[in-house]
Amino acid sequence: MDEEQIWRLCMLAGHQLLRYGAETSRIEETITHFAVSAGVQMDHVQCFVTPTGIFVSMTTPAGTTTRLERVSGARILDLDKVTQINELSRKMQRGECSIDEALIKLEALDHAPLLYSRPVQILAAALSSGSFTIILGGAGLDFIYGAVGGIIAQELTRWTVRYVPRFFAVLLASLVGSLFAVLISIVGLSKHEGVIIIGAILPLLPGLAVTNAIRDLLAGDLLAGVARGAEALFTAAAIAVAVALAISIST
């Protein structure tokens, strides 16, 4: 058994899962599964994952080693890749795939393009925001205004999230999105300012952070759960402040 290979496999898998938005218990389990199916004994792998770093300790015939991997930079929500890494670890557990094959697959996945291309995502942003404006009580052309607001908010988040933590990006994006809706109502194109604002910014809400926080707390990962819950709260507060700022201009 090549120890360095096992380390690379575990760290790469953990790093990717964390960046793509998996739950903490899933990351810890997957790292352990990879190590165990590569030949390390079950009680010789210890793993501790926080939202910004991964600690793994392994005991092999060569001795005990602990390594730390710092995970920083922009999070890319990609549940498809989370699912694929999950499947890969199951496959390796059943012995259908060797360490080398798994490593090649993981590295390929790291560089693979997103499942849905940029135009599809812009269309999705438009359709989800547009639909929400109608569901929440808008009518007719509000669909279009909501859709445009949604595209603005989504694309602005995608651009700013590269430079600042997610809740600052969301603050800016929801401010611009809400200002667009306020502008529409000031010009007199629509009377439903509220539904356009909410439709445009609803896709920015921290749905994944809330769900992950709850699942982490349920699994007993208190540190990760509280950190993710705080992220969700900050994001929600940022959106609320942005909306308040925008509507204070119109009233």
Binding site: D80, Y116, A126, L127, I135, I198, R215, A240
Partner: protein
């Protein structure tokens, strides 16, 4: 009613695509959107409290997400995250902020409290579904041994 049901499916699917869910999960998430909308409005029409209605809808969506996750062998988040988006109390939050901005602090506080309670009801649905599925799953694992 039919239009808004279909639109909630569309909105859920589009939101799922923004989260890059696997292609196989797209149809199930549309179903979750419809389930969420029908449960929420069904409960509201039958005179349920708005917080109770959100709790019921969230519980239904979360349980169905857990079932889908086992069936399709995908993480629960793939289904639960888009599933609950229809329930998010966006308009309540908006009215609360508008009241605050226009100095109607008492109205704003009551709207904000309702928003927080609805958000709590949605999370409780997720928690209960998680606990139920965990206990069932663990029992089955032990039974197989």
């Amino acid at each position: 009613m039919i239009v808004s049901t279909l639109l909630s499916a569309l909105a859920t699917i589009a939101f799922a695509i923004l989260n890059q869910v696997p292609k196989k999960a797209i149809i199930p998430s549309g179903i979750l959107g419809i389930v969420a909308w029908l449960f929420l409005n069904g409960a509201l029409k039958n005179g349920a409290n708005v917080i109770a209605a959100n709790f019921m809808a969230s519980l239904a969506v979360s349980l169905l997400s857990e079932v889908f996750a086992r069936y399709y062998r995908m993480p629960v988040t793939v289904f639960a995250v888009p599933g609950i988006i229809v329930l998010v109390p966006g308009m309540d939050a908006y009215f609360a902020m508008r009241d605050f901005v226009t100095h109607h602090y008492m109205n704003g506080m009551s709207m904000a409290t309702e928003t927080v309670l609805i958000a709590g009801a949605i999370s409780t649905g997720l928690v209960i579904a998680g606990v139920l599925m965990r206990s069932i799953w663990r029992q089955r694992k032990h039974g197989a041994r």
